[in-house]
Symmetry: C2
Subunit: 200 residues, 2 copies
């Protein structure tokens, strides 16, 4: 069985949302699974000296237009959320808790959380919204959030962020196919060819 694709993401990344809606069917066509790896762009940007796209002079207006157009191009519902970007530490910790207990449930939560923020306009930085999304996907929301607030889970997320940095992740989505890195939802066509024809 070939290794799963590794999909690094922050719940606040529009291009990670777009890619998250496409990556599983793409991987499945090539007999691959997807392993989702939450990280935090705030920490990543501090290291690499970057800022959120929408805060870069001149680039911000284009970025907002491109988020929406790229979602339409991919056939995915999208509404520019406000506020943007947001802190996603609660959602990321909840994700880690679920991944340890119920991997399939974790995947459902990831998609539901992305959609809540980028299609339904719900502020995912609010723990109550994370609670609602957990409950909606059938998780024991109280138990997950309680676990998410414990030191071992906080440490696990810190370790996950450090690991993503050590692997060279400077933005999301950042996808590894075996050890080949691909950054951005616009690299899905390259991933598709890499998986079908081998390294090029």
């Amino acid at each position: 069985m070939p290794a799963p694709l590794e999909f690094y993401f922050d719940f606040s990344s529009p291009y990670a949302y777009i890619a998250s809606e496409c990556i599983e069917p793409l991987a499945a066509r090539h007999g691959r699974a997807v392993r989702y790896r939450p990280t935090l762009l705030g920490a990543v940007f501090r290291i690499s000296g970057q800022r959120p796209l929408t805060e870069i002079p001149v680039k911000g207006d284009y970025a907002r237009r491109d988020f929406a157009r790229s979602a339409r191009f991919a056939g995915i519902p999208f509404a520019m959320p406000e506020p943007f970007p947001i802190g996603t530490v609660t959602a990321a910790r909840a994700c880690l808790v679920l991944q340890g207990a119920d991997p399939a449930g974790a995947d459902n939560f990831i998609h539901a959380a992305f959609r809540a923020y980028f299609a339904e306009g719900r502020n995912l930085s609010d723990p109550q919204v994370v609670h609602d999304v957990l409950a909606r996907t059938g998780a024991d929301a109280d138990a997950v959030l309680e676990a998410a607030a414990t030191a071992p889970v906080k440490d696990a997320l810190k370790a996950a962020v450090d690991a993503s940095l050590a692997r060279g992740v400077f933005g999301t989505p950042f996808i590894f196919v075996d050890d080949e890195p691909f950054w951005g939802s616009d690299r899905l066509p390259q991933i598709d060819r890499w998986l079908s024809s081998g390294p090029f």
Copy 2:
């Protein structure tokens, strides 16, 4: 006759090089021409607070890998040039001179100059290399470079850079289809759909 696509570029941009090799056949399939508009990324980056991709911590190694892989994906010869990036003011001024005198010759020069830097490893910041490329494409290289050093041409390039900034160009390639902006060689599939099906 529909308006030509407007293609803003800096000769030092690898993704502009990749797109320059693909944009004319794409445009022609939809009955469009391409109007090339040189700009200078140094000035653009100063305004938007950006740095060359290869100088951003963590991002630089990935960028070099992605330049080469994206060129292979597009089936285009590429060899990472050294030094990179380079100042392209002489090449950009020569381009403006040619565009005023011989538009078809200017297009030939643009392709030859991009290839000299990104496929043949010639340092396009060196006026002698610009001279060689001009001569190779059949231009009167001495006359073009002499004109390129005059105040009116220097002013015309300054005005062209200012105009690109005023239009929101913060990187290259930056392509306008009518008034719709597309940034990056990875947006060519979106441009293709925009031209075939209309705005989406």
